[in-house]
Amino acid sequence: MITKLAWRNIWFKPLNTILSIILLTSSVAIITVLILLEKQFEEKFNSNIEGIDLVMGAQGSPLQLILSSVYQVDAPTGNISFDSAKVWMQNPMVKRAIPLAFGDNYKGFKILGTTSEYLEKYGAKISEGKIFEKNFEVVVGSEAAQKLNLAIGDEFFGSHGSAEEGEVHEHYAYKVVGIISATGKVVDNLIISNIPSVWQMHGSHEEEAHEDEENPVHGEVGHIHEEGDEHEHHEHEITIDEPGMEITSVLLQMRNPMAKLTWQRIIPQNTKMQAASPAIEINRLFTLFGVGIDALRYLAYGIMLISGISIFIALFNTLKERKNEFALLRVNGAGRRQLLKLVLIESLLLCIVGFIFGTILGRVGLMLISKSSESDFKLSFNPYEFIWDKEGWLLLLTLLVGIVAALIPAIKAYTLNISKTLAHA
């Protein structure tokens, strides 16, 4: 009955109540988003760098190299010579070296040339079909397959580069031979082929240009280029052993932790390449983000403080009008403690309602963030995850705000002089 009264009371003055709840909701929502985002972001980033000690690639920004090669979000720094990279890949200090060659994209999903070791590194299994064997055979990540509606046997043309609007390579069609099981890592959003596919796709491009200039070499006057015919021009299939080719980067796992450090120095000293450590770069990235996240967090706590003050003012203001009501309850047999309870429950109800709305709103917000980051970076977040310990603390903090805000009004109600109040009613 006290709780019922408390509930009725907070809705009897709806404007005050709504203000308090809006403030609480927004602060809880911001903090919830931050909690979820931070955790899932770090998880995503850390799970993807597992087993990658160094990334070897063209010189430039090391962060860009990591972002492009490990997370597939940025443009690559450039190309490196596969022959000179091989020298380092075959070094005995290297435990595992996975070469990567970026080629094209299909409707915004990157087509990555690599070896089957890349799939093993991410623990990705072929759930349907088989792994790529021949050139232009591809396996598709689970999410890419679902969003692009690709199934085994489907063929498609890639667009050049990483932009969806890039020039379409119509000479060769990729053929889907396998679908990869979901891993929760970057692989899910990739289309993966072998490296020679990438070479051949782009090699053909250059040869074609070449061919246009020196058309007479073929000697067929009056030959009309028809689409089907073009394939015939490139009979020999490029293999991984083709000399003088270029790749984008190499993911390295080292046997020796010292080598992780020394290679970062040795490689740029001796070659035109660089070796960047994902752990260091991601740490740097988090530090950069950290400033923004901290600022947002302080803002959220600030709003929570204001909502506490708003609850306090609302309770305190109505206290004057409700003095008579409190005296009446005492006349009817309510003890001092029951009045104390009433005021506290009112404040706590506001806080609980605010917390529930905030938790929901935060997740709606995360869903929206996830949608936009998904389309921009192929990075999605799970709004349905509950982080019990951190969100539990948030609930406790919210309730604490409610108790502190209600403290003075509650004490006033507790110490109310009934006789005096009634005499002046």
Partner: protein, 209 residues
């Protein structure tokens, strides 16, 4: 039944009120009259256990409420003493019926909706049960106050100037209701008033000077 003996009260050290002794049996009525500032309301609050007297005893049936602790006093008041206040005070966020239920719940832990409905019926305001108190006329509000005071089947019914804000017709009605109901529910009725309209209606009177 309520009776008092040798009650004195003081707000400050140098000021002492001597309250006249009174005795009122179940079902009968006593009027406390006197000019403003003579401590009529104070006396009523002492009788209700809202104020502690400096000396003296107040017996409600066999309990000396002056000797009860505060928490016990609250419980005792809720259960055995009904108070009709000078101005109608209600829980603004509750309906008329819920106001009555709340009074019963605080006293006994039970809502006692049946009794609330019956009292509203008797007071001829059953059709107002679902309204908020603020939507009622002053006369209706006063009747709800009476119903509320009777919710816990009190042994004593105390009324503080119950007619001061009412017109002649309503005042007469309220007094009749109070006396009739206190007889019916076997409560001792104590009315504090300076209202000349009702003084002549009662024989049993104490005047505070």
């Amino acid at each position: 039944m309520i009776s008092t003996k040798g009650i004195t009260f003081s707000y400050t050290e140098d000021q002492l009120f001597h309250m006249p002794d009174l005795h009122c049996d179940a079902g009968s009525t006593i009027l406390i009259t006197g000019d403003s500032g003579k401590g009529k309301t104070t006396y009523l609050h002492i009788l209700a256990g809202l104020l502690k007297p400096k000396t003296g005893e107040i017996f409600v049936d066999k309990t000396n409420i002056a000797s009860l602790s505060e928490a016990k006093g609250d419980k005792f008041r809720g259960k055995h003493i009904g108070l009709v206040l000078q101005k109608s005070i209600f829980i603004a966020a509750f309906t008329v019926l819920e106001n009555l239920e709340m009074a019963s719940w605080l006293a006994t832990g039970k809502k006692n909706t049946e009794r609330a409905k019956r009292l509203l019926e008797q007071l001829d305001i059953a059709d107002q049960a679902g309204k908020l108190p603020s939507q009622l006329s002053i006369g209706q509000q006063q009747r709800v106050s009476i119903a509320r005071a009777l919710m816990s089947e009190p042994k004593v019914l105390l009324a503080d100037e119950p007619t001061s804000s009412l017109d002649d017709k309503n005042a007469e009605k309220v007094i009749k209701l109070l006396t009739d109901l206190s007889k019916e529910y076997k409560a001792a009725l104590v009315i504090v008033t300076h209202d000349a309209r009702i003084k002549e209606k009662f024989i049993n009177k104490i005047t505070m000077v």
